[in-house]
Amino acid sequence: MSNGTGPTLDSPGATSLSQPIIRVRGLTKVYRVGDVDVHALRGVDLDLAAGEFVALVGASGSGKSTLFHILGGLTPPTSGTILIDGRSVTGMTNHERTELRKTTVGFVFQKYNLLPTLSAEDNIKLVEYIGGRPTEFTPEFVEILKLLGIQDRLKHKPRALSGGQQQRVAIARAIIKKPAILLADEPTGNLDSENSAAVLGLLKDLNQRTGQTILMITHDPEAAAYAARSIHMRDGRIV
């Protein structure tokens, strides 16, 4: 399925990119479940160049979600090094990881995770408010809203939107802060095939038009085909 730059260095995920926006080396994550250590990641190496659209493909339990959470600064790694946009994520404090999420990483979740009490517009603006930036949409962002096809649905609350529309709002929310990297976790997992194709097409379009770096996690080869490159995970390793 890989149809982009192939792995060339000491590990299948690592590449010869000169200035990667994400560089991961020897990443491990061990969870303690009761008395048992669960090795979710067993030494992951990964490089992503700025402007790439990469699919991280793997079965359930392969460690892709754990990698997603660590790259997004949602949870700390056990060991290894991670550089995102030149900043080392390893050893970051909670506060620093919050700052990372505020400025550098955008998320798109499988279940959209929009705040149900706010309108679509306010869901998007909340990110700007949290980031301490002006909440008014720029003309450039209005064009993106048009591209996403939600400019007429902004005043509606999530419950009044279809799944596809909610996911488009979630994409808008993720990219309004112009993050260095957009992380999408099974973005079409809750959508029918028509809406899935539309959302994936939008992500691809977004990547091509704006150069937004995207790392999409999926177990679906069809979804992965929209990305320029696919990386496969199994048993906590990139294969």
């Binding site: 959470h69 949602l74 949870t75 919050t98 995770n113 705040l115 306010d122």
Partner: protein, 364 residues
């Protein structure tokens, strides 16, 4: 934006919000009503005392200013004796029989009393003529639905209302002095003595002089007496208000604790989302505390409005309680409500702050 989110959160669960506001409102109403009744009762007592027109008051030995009077241990002969004392221009006495609650019935020597305090201002009827005649003030008449000509049985005696007068004079229920003395089986004895001076500026001197001659009798000037009608001089009342405030804080704490704890559980995923998009723990806590603060402020405002409702109820019900609006206690009750509510938000807030983002995002 944050205020919009807070308002949206509160309006998203209207029943829970309304119940929380009402519970805090009841807490505030409890405090304001108790304080209002305390002030109202003491102030109306002081007003009636001033309405007597006397300068000196002599109460039975062993009684305190706040104790209810229901005995007649003072000989009526003291009236003649008082009249012989320097500066005393007029003296009279009353006999008091306690009824249920705060009520009492007072026997009055009407001709002398009116010379001391001025004529009664009758809204209808007039002073007692027959032995079974009784006059009541407009407040008591309204509460007990009495009119001139109405009959009422008090202390196992049938009375007929002969007049309804404007309140603020000595007592709410009055009958002829000899009649009540007879009913109480204390002819020739009084409960309280009142003296009017030819020069009110001599009140302190005369009171001091009387104290030396009437050992054991509590003797007050009118200024002294009315200044003693305050909550701080009624130890039991002060303690009771303290207990009610304590209960109110606990009620506010429990209500807000439950409301916020449920909200945090219910919004686990949303809290995770806010943190995922860069919201700090402080921001999440701030949202919860602001919501709590808003509930407490709304509860305080509704509580103040409800206090006016209890005032109306107090008017409508046959009790002898008067409730005042004590404005100085509005902010105090508000602060008490806010403190109780914020205490209730601490544990849910801590839970929200401590929530792991990844777990919160996968919460179903």
């Amino acid at each position: 934006m944050l205020n919009k989110l807070i308002l949206a959160n509160l309006s998203h669960r209207p029943v829970r919000t309304i119940l929380s506001v009402l519970a805090i409102a009841v807490e505030v109403t409890m405090i304001l009503t108790l304080v209002g009744v305390s002030h109202g009762t003491l102030d109306s007592t002081a007003e009636r005392a001033r309405g007597v027109g006397a300068d000196i008051i002599i109460r039975p030995p062993g009684s305190s200013v706040m104790s209810s009077l229901s005995s007649a241990p003072i000989s009526q002969k003291y009236i003649a004796w008082l009249m012989q004392q320097p500066h005393i221009s007029l003296a009279t006495g009353t006999v008091v029989q306690g009824l249920s609650g705060f009520d009492s019935i007072t026997g009055v020597d009407f001709p002398v009393f009116e010379r001391m305090s001025g004529k009664f201002d009758f809204a209808s009827g007039g002073a007692p003529v027959d032995d079974n005649d009784m006059i009541v003030d407009d407040y008591y008449a309204r509460q007990h639905k009495l009119q001139v000509g109405s009959h009422i049985n008090l202390i196992n005696h049938d009375w007929k209302i002969s007049g309804i007068f404007s309140g603020g004079k000595l007592a709410r229920i009055m009958v002829k002095l000899p009649v009540l003395q007879q009913v109480m089986d204390r002819p020739g004895y009084l409960t309280v003595l009142y003296a009017k001076l030819d020069d009110p500026r001599q009140a302190d001197t005369v009171a001091k002089d009387l104290k030396t001659q009437l050992k054991g009798y509590p003797i007050y000037t009118m200024d002294e007496l009315t200044s003693l009608y305050s909550i701080s001089n009624v130890g039991m009342l002060k303690d009771f208000i303290g207990v009610v405030i304590g209960v109110a804080v606990i009620v506010g704490f429990i209500v807000v604790f439950m409301a916020m704890y449920t909200a945090v559980l219910e919004r686990t995923r949303e809290i995770g989302t806010i943190k995922a998009v860069g919201g700090s723990a402080g921001l999440v806590l701030s949202i919860l505390l602001r919501e709590t603060l808003l509930l407490a402020v709304l509860g305080t405002l509704v509580g103040i409005l409800l206090t006016y409702g209890t005032q109306l109820l107090m008017h409508a019900l046959p009790s002898n309680l008067t409730q005042e609006t004590v404005y100085t206690w509005w902010p105090i009750a508000g602060v008490i409500a806010i403190v109780g509510a914020l205490l209730g938000a601490i544990v849910p807030g801590y839970k929200a702050v401590q929530q792991d983002v990844t777990e919160a995002l996968s919460y179903e």
